[in-house]
């Protein structure tokens, strides 16, 4: 067997990760490990800070989804001070949040994950990027992606102060009302976003669903795990990003749990492994049985596919149509195919755009009444949102002055950590045979985690420090055969 070490780039991931693949004597995979080699200290250095600073401090966990942390923290502050924001404030928060969802999901589909399918999973690596996507779908669409993201991000700045690290969230409301002029801008943005959502789904149909080979890959056993799924739902069990109850369905799609974020400690626990800095969430009600799927294992999944599985539909008409088609095409609920996350993400993008449109047109959205001043003595608060990459919970305890004494964060990618590790292992076993490893084969391993849109900036909120993504392949004598890395 060759002992050649090849260094290659591995890309299109937010934050950093590391994969070690161990081969047996025949060159087949014995086990592949997905590690997260970084950690930061947000929960620790939150201690002593005023609670009202949390929306701005915790947004620095992630500059890609700062709005998600900002919003989860703000909702935790509502709970901390037991204060109900005026209806207009809640609507503006959700309007901004929906705007953020469209631009963030667009970033993943066109820049990060989409290239695998739009260009092809085993296409030459030089083409598996945004430029390859533009080559395939045309420069005009490329301009539209850049243009729509810019317009939406400007809207977030307009309402939230800054798009990267917004400042407008306060316990009991938001810092600034919207004007009629602002509303017009949001309506224009929403109309463009809905069109953008529809044509993104069209692209997915034309380029992915009409390609038999891609569909076979998506539905193949190599990328399938039968786990529990979690997501926020409204009163009618429809997907909601901003508020609602957490609903968990079992691997057969039946409701297993439905609970308020305030009860999360009764249902969600974190398991520690010595070989990764990330903690692995599991359902306490089922228990940690290791990196296995099925109803006996507490491993669950979050993010687009999980949210669709955990809900009974979408709250807007066009997205609901797409939802129905999704399950009809993929053989009913729940869908266990990890790669279906890409399609689910676009359905969510369309929902967010439609929701944005509804809220921008809401008569109340320009109400000047956007603050309720908190009066209760703070003690403990828990807030939840669906971040684009999954369920996000912020939990604070404070002293009577509102200074943080304890903070606990359950972040999106952590919920998915166990299933991501399993997906990488299973994909590696399926595609690496007899020691044959090349770039195309390794990308087939990479797409297993990329579908989740993992964000290791978020997942490792706990020491500053980032590492590149490295894939190492070892033979049965534990000799390093290949190393691929992105620095």
């Amino acid at each position: 067997m060759t002992r050649e070490i090849v260094i290659d780039p591995i890309t299109r991931l937010e934050g950093h990760g590391k994969i070690d693949i161990f081969l047996d004597a025949k060159g087949n995979v014995e086990r592949a490990f997905f590690q997260v080699p970084e950690l930061r200290g947000f929960e620790k250095f939150a201690v002593g800070r005023p609670a009202e600073d949390m929306p701005q401090i915790t947004s620095r966990i992630c500059g890609v989804c700062p709005t998600a942390h900002h919003m989860a923290a703000t909702k935790a502050l509502d709970d901390l001070y037991k204060v109900e924001p005026p209806s207009a404030a809640k609507k503006i928060r959700e309007l901004v949040y929906s705007t953020f969802y469209v631009e963030d999901h667009a970033l993943h589909f066109f820049f990060l994950g989409g290239p695998d399918f739009v260009v092809g999973p085993t296409a030459p690596k030089a083409q598996r990027n945004i430029l390859g996507v533009l080559g395939k779908v045309g420069l005009e669409i490329g301009r539209e992606v850049i243009g729509v993201r810019k317009q939406l991000r400007d809207l977030i700045s307009l309402a939230g102060g800054k798009v990267i690290h917004p400042v407008f969230g306060l316990p009991g409301g938001i810092s600034k009302a919207l004007t009629e002029e602002d509303r017009e801008k949001f309506i224009a943005g929403a109309e463009r976003a809905v069109k953008f959502g529809l044509f993104s789904l069209e692209i997915f149909h034309d380029v992915v669903l009409k390609n038999k080979q891609y569909v076979e890959t998506i539905t193949s056993e190599a990328y399938t795990h039968r786990t529990y799924y979690m997501g926020l739902v409204d009163e009618q069990n429809r997907v909601n990003f901003y508020d609602g109850q957490l609903r968990v369905v079992d691997p057969n799609g039946k409701e297993f749990l439905k609970f308020k974020a305030q009860e999360y400690l009764a249902h969600i626990a974190e398991h520690v492994e010595p070989w990764s800095y990330i903690k692995f969430c599991y359902l306490k009600d089922v228990g940690w049985k290791g990196f296995v799927d099925g109803p006996e294992s507490g491993v669950y999944s979050v993010a687009p596919l999980a949210r669709l599985n955990a809900a009974e539909g979408m709250a807007t008409p066009k997205a609901q149509e797409a939802y129905t088609e999704f399950y009809k095409t993929l053989g009913g609920k729940p869908v266990h195919h990890t790669l279906a996350n890409h399609w689910a993400r676009l359905i969510e993008l369309l929902y967010a755009a439609e929701r944005m449109h509804e809220l921008a047109n809401d008569p109340e959205i320009t109400s000047p009444n956007v603050r309720t001043i908190p009066t209760a003595t703070p003690k403990e608060g828990i807030g939840v949102v669906e971040a684009p990459r999954g369920t996000l919970i912020h939990h604070y305890q404070t002293d009577e002055k509102g200074l943080i004494t304890k903070a606990n964060l359950i972040v999106a990618t952590q919920n998915n950590a166990a299933r991501i590790a399993m997906s990488v292992d299973k994909a590696a076993r399926s595609v690496i045979k007899n020691g044959k490893v090349d770039d195309g084969v390794l990308n087939l391993v990479e797409i297993a985690f990329r579908a989740y849109d993992p964000c290791h900036g978020c997942a490792t909120h706990a020491l500053p420090g980032q590492m590149p993504l490295i894939v190492r392949v070892y033979d049965s004598q534990k000799n390093l055969l290949r190393e691929l890395r992105r620095d």
Partner: protein, 341 residues
């Protein structure tokens, strides 16, 4: 003549600085026309070995964001320093240490103990903590993880830095100006922060409502009061750090009706941002009475988090010195039993 080569790199950061570059939107196409971006891991497939293969000084400029915490980041900083004519610290973390620099109030052990053992959602009866090396099972796989330093450092505490782009993240306008200055060879003296050298109040949209003599009688926290969207925030008793903070951002936080928290850091005449901000606020207190002054300062409930939110590693303080074990690190409050922890 070939185009100048430019690189971007991230150390301990949140990714917001990368997004800020993406937010150049169509302007990034102009940048691409003028320079060759030869290293930018988040977007392009060039790798460390490509950088190693460059001649020393072959990069005309390299922009590095994020603070420095691991040995790997130190190596990358040194490598990029060697390969670059100009090394630019990009964003608050690289410039001053940034929000994650607040981790210097604790040490590695305290963070590990909390994250892996004490956090309420952790179930870890055997007290497992991630190890730099793990041998697994009888097969003897060895998995490795990188180690971390006890402290967060700025880029210029690690290698020599030529220029700084301040802000969390740097405002798009300042990025464009910096790139233009590099391309046109119109750079100010080495060591300059590439932003206007005056206080934020100068460009604040509420400038005209700032009284000639600000007189602080009480301080309010933003959630405790309805904030007038037109009037100077300090005049309303809100702790706005505009007087101590460098301008160049256009005051977006103030435009959203929230106080400046100081992410662009100090002007060139100030060595320690937090000390300057504290003294700027103290000088506004409208009292000669010591007890009154003390009572007002009590209303600043978190001085270190308020004045050093973005700059603890760069400050004269740098970090908390007392060695904090996880047990002694707990604030007194947290020792009392409660229903969750």
């Amino acid at each position: 003549m070939s185009k100048p080569k430019v690189g971007f790199y991230w150390c301990a950061s949140c990714g917001g600085c990368e997004e800020a570059v993406v937010d150049l939107a169509e302007d990034i196409l102009k940048v691409v026309e003028a320079v060759d971006i030869v290293f930018w891991p988040v977007a392009l497939d060039f790798k460390r070995s490509d950088v190693e293969a460059l001649r020393d000084g072959e990069l005309a400029a390299c922009f590095v964001n994020g603070a420095i915490r691991t040995s790997e980041q130190e190596e990358m900083a040194e490598l990029l320093r060697r390969k670059s004519q100009l090394l630019i610290a990009f964003g608050s973390c690289s410039h001053l240490g940034g929000v994650p620099g607040l981790a210097n109030l604790w040490d590695r052990q305290a963070i590990f103990d909390y994250v892996y053992k004490e956090a309420p959602s952790v179930t870890n009866p055997e007290g497992v903590v991630p190890q730099e090396q793990t041998k697994l099972g009888s097969n003897g796989y060895t998995l490795t993880l990188p180690s971390f330093r006890d402290s967060v450092r700025t880029l210029d505490q690690t290698v020599e830095v030529d220029y700084y782009l301040p802000g969390c993240p740097p405002p798009v306008k300042l990025i464009v100006n910096a790139v233009t200055a590099i391309l046109e060879n119109k750079l100010p003296p080495k060591g300059t922060v590439l932003a206007p050298d005056k206080a934020l109040c100068e460009e604040c949209p509420r400038k005209l409502t700032k009284p000639d003599k600000l007189a602080l009688k009480e301080l309010k926290r933003p959630h405790q009061t309805l904030i007038d969207p037109e009037k100077c925030l300090l005049a309303q008793g809100l702790l706005c750090l505009g007087p101590a903070t460098r301008s160049g951002c256009g005051a977006p936080c103030v435009s959203a009706n929230m106080p400046c928290t100081g992410c662009l850091g100090p002007t060139s005449r100030v060595k320690d941002y937090g000390a300057k901000a504290l003294s700027a606020i103290a000088s506004l207190i409208d009292s000669e009475d010591e007890r009154e002054i003390a009572a007002l300062m009590e209303q600043i409930v978190d001085p270190v988090g308020t004045f050093y939110r973005y700059s603890l590693p760069a400050s004269l303080l740098h970090r908390r010195i007392r060695n904090l074990s996880s047990s002694s690190a707990k604030p007194a409050k947290a020792n009392s039993p409660d229903e969750v922890w």
